[in-house]
């Protein structure tokens, strides 16, 4: 690692990141990797220290224990906070200035009896947040919604910095086999609803199933619901499947699990509408991805969703099946409305662009780490929609 600037003898200051798990195609994982690149482009030394790293990213991170040997005076540490982890306890005991990059903790109550271990992890994460928030020199939140959590936990200085996300994955070259399969199904008629997110109770996929049932009964008996996302809660997933079967939707509701970026792009490209009835989102990246892909959005206005979406989607006040069905029907049959949502979506995408979010991150970190050695260099490039 080059620890000295070529033009002088002073060590290059470092802003390192700590993360419980570095996982590909995961919001926090992708954000961490992009932020590392932004920090390096700005001129800081920056490494990722992870408690666990997915094999595909083995070369991108160091083990948390390795930091001790690499620690230098003046280091600033960022903790990517989204769940409980031993990393939080480790950082609580260190003396370096700490920045919390907070991606929200789902309320334990939302997991309830569906997933007691997840509820326990959330409760533990809240405890850790209370400890770290008081020690942090800065709390960075994805949204004002998340910022309120940081303030409530005792963070004295906060800034809103959107998640760094490469929205181009939603419009990259689509997986041809998936695209062909979806096109064949689409040729038979029926609207394609899409939701992207982990299949867990707080995301309320069962509400989507209900809404689809009402929509098929009232407007379009051939409509389908595509659910993309990891399925960590076996209980919830199995209940969801049985529920869909009870409502006669066993073949109309399609669960994909975790997919590659190319498959995701294919699913986005075949979607007629993106519908979210999630009750808990600290940010909601897929909402912006859908907008980037030109898919109109209908969403429950809960948690940070109104903030993320702005006027780029039709926000419904409740998950009542008849209301959601009517909203989707309107979006799919009113060309002027659909067009206005797509146009507003493209505006929103610019607001969430990687370049804009990167600049905000550098600005926020400069306030606690001092100006980066390469101040003035951009280093962040992005294709615009």
């Amino acid at each position: 690692m080059n620890e000295r600037l070529e033009r002088g003898a002073l060590p290059v200051p470092a802003v390192h990141q700590f993360v419980p798990a570095l996982i590909p195609r995961d919001a926090t994982g992708s954000h961490t990797l992009l932020l590392r690149d932004v920090l390096r482009s700005a001129g800081w030394r920056s490494e990722i220290f992870a408690e666990a790293t997915h094999d595909d990213l083995a070369n991108e991170s160091l083990r948390v224990e390795e930091y001790e040997a690499r620690a230098r005076p003046g280091d600033v540490l960022i903790y990517q906070f989204s769940t409980s982890s031993m990393v939080a306890d480790l950082l609580a005991g260190r003396t370096e200035p700490l920045v919390l990059d907070y991606h929200n903790i789902t309320s334990p109550e939302l997991y309830g009896e569906w997933d007691p271990p997840a509820a326990a992890r959330s409760a533990e994460a809240r405890r850790q947040l209370a400890v770290l928030a008081r020690r942090a020199v800065l709390g960075m939140a994805d949204s004002e919604f998340n910022e309120r959590d940081l303030v409530a936990a005792g963070c004295r200085r906060t800034a809103v910095v959107p998640v760094l996300v490469d929205l181009e994955r939603a419009v990259q070259d689509a997986d041809t086999r998936t695209a062909a399969r979806l096109a064949r199904a689409r040729a038979g008629g029926g609207a394609n609803w899409l939701f992207v997110g982990r299949v867990v109770p707080p995301k309320a996929q069962h509400r989507l199933v209900e809404a689809l049932w009402a929509y098929r009964r009232l407007y379009d008996p051939s409509a389908r619901l595509h659910l993309v996302g990891a399925m960590p809660s076996r209980r919830y997933m199995s209940a969801l499947r049985r529920y869909a079967a009870d409502l006669g939707l066993a073949t109309a509701v399609r669960l994909y699990g975790e997919v590659s970026d190319a498959v995701l792009a294919a699913v986005y490209s075949s979607a007629d509408v993106y519908v979210s009835l999630s009750e808990h989102e600290g940010y909601g990246i897929p909402l912006v991805e859908a907008a980037r892909a030109g898919v109109p959005v209908v969403a429950l206005g809960a948690a940070a969703i109104p903030e993320t979406l702005g006027d780029a989607g039709l926000l419904v006040g409740t998950s009542e099946p008849a209301l959601v069905a009517a909203a989707v029907h309107r979006v799919l049959t009113d060309e002027a409305l659909r067009h206005s949502l797509v146009v507003a979506g493209q505006r929103r995408v610019k607001h969430h662009s990687l370049a804009a979010a990167s600049a905000m991150a550098v600005r926020a970190l400069t306030a606690v780490a001092g100006p980066p050695p390469g101040a003035g260099r951009s280093g962040v490039t992005e294709r615009q929609p």
């Binding site: 309830g112 009896e113 009402a214 529920y243 006027d311 926000l315 009542e320 099946p321 009517a326 505006r347």
Partner: protein, 332 residues
């Protein structure tokens, strides 16, 4: 486009979306009224999903939870060895045999712990059942909703006054207990955005089929789910009569919180003298509480921020309380 132009265009878009949402709400109302998607059917969806949820989600009966504990208390160290791959079963069986002495030792201890825990839980459950039985004898039952004396005696005397009081309130009007929705129907006919709830099984059927927004729900449970200052009016008929004071106070505080400033609360209640007479319903003997005297309402609602007016019916068997929520609530 300049920033000002863009801001103007975004504002126009927001107004447009608000109008679209209002039209969608109207479409939903129309669909429900037409019987295409009865509200009852939507409610049944929740129950259907809960049937697939874990024990706590289904209401958390202790017996069910204990059954689950019992069912999973034994940990089987002999893992299944079936396999779709050729030779897979043999490999798995060999691995199982090799590991069984170790896994078996561990699982035996875990099973012992689980069995002891299960036994302890059963003892706790037996004791709880015993305590519940003893408590049941001293329990104060929740107050039932009662029919008003004027229910069977032709047009209700308080109808036109109540309609007048609620004709220009700042929000939706809730009627509890709405019965078949006749008062909700009158309000809607007058252009008031009204809906009704009734906790009594089967009471809302006819009105619901007609397309009125009626729900079979407990009054307090429903009000707790409504946002503060969301309602323009609340009508309580036969709801508070049989309540004990604490339950009545809690409900009225809830109503006060859910009403918007200048919102109107209308209460129709049995008169205490009629409650003690032969024409009173059976609940008069069986209910935990009794109706208040008309003059008491000003003492009760005044400190909650209401201006109160009381009218006694022509027969003297019932009376109405019309209370308007003042803009600034006075301290309690």
């Amino acid at each position: 486009m300049t920033e000002t132009e863009q801001a103007g265009s975004e504002e126009e878009h927001r107004v447009y979306l608000a109008r679209v949402m209002a039209e969608i709400d109207e479409e939903v109302r129309r669909r429900r009224a037409s019987g295409d998607l009865p509200a009852r059917l939507e409610r049944e969806l929740d129950e259907l999903f809960l049937a697939h949820s874990p024990v706590a989600g289904r209401g958390g009966a202790l017996e069910d939870a204990l059954e689950m504990v019992d069912a999973s208390a034994f940990i089987d160290p002999a893992v299944p060895v079936a396999s779709k791959r050729a030779g897979g079963a043999v490999v798995k069986k060999s691995l199982r045999t090799l590991n069984l002495w170790y896994i078996g030792f561990v699982t035996h201890q875990v099973s012992q712990f689980a069995a002891a825990t299960s036994r302890a839980l059963h003892l706790v459950e037996e004791r709880l059942v015993e305590i519940a039985r003893e408590l049941d004898a001293q329990r104060v039952p929740p107050a039932p909703v009662v029919d008003l004396p004027s229910e069977d005696a032709g047009p209700r005397w308080w109808l036109s006054d109540a309609l007048g009081a609620l004709s220009a309130v700042p929000g939706r009007v809730l009627h509890a207990a709405a019965g078949d929705g006749s008062f909700v129907r009158s309000l809607c006919a007058q252009g008031v955005d009204a809906y009704g709830i009734d906790p009594r099984p089967g009471r809302i059927g006819a009105g619901e089929r007609e397309g009125l927004d009626l729900r079979e729900e407990d009054v307090a449970v429903h009000l707790r789910a409504v946002a503060p200052a969301e309602l323009g009016g609340v009508v309580l008929t036969g709801v508070v009569d049989a309540m004990v004071h604490g339950e009545r106070r809690q409900l009225l505080e809830l109503v006060a919180d859910r009403l918007a400033p200048e919102g109107v609360l209308v209460i129709v209640s049995w008169a205490p003298s009629a409650w003690a007479g032969d024409a009173a319903p059976p609940e008069a003997d069986l209910a935990p509480g009794r109706p208040l005297r008309p003059a008491t309402w000003a003492h009760l609602l005044g400190p909650m921020g209401f201006t109160v007016d009381v009218q006694t019916g022509p027969s003297g068997t019932d009376y109405t309380v019309t209370a308007v929520r003042r803009r600034a609530r006075s301290p309690r």
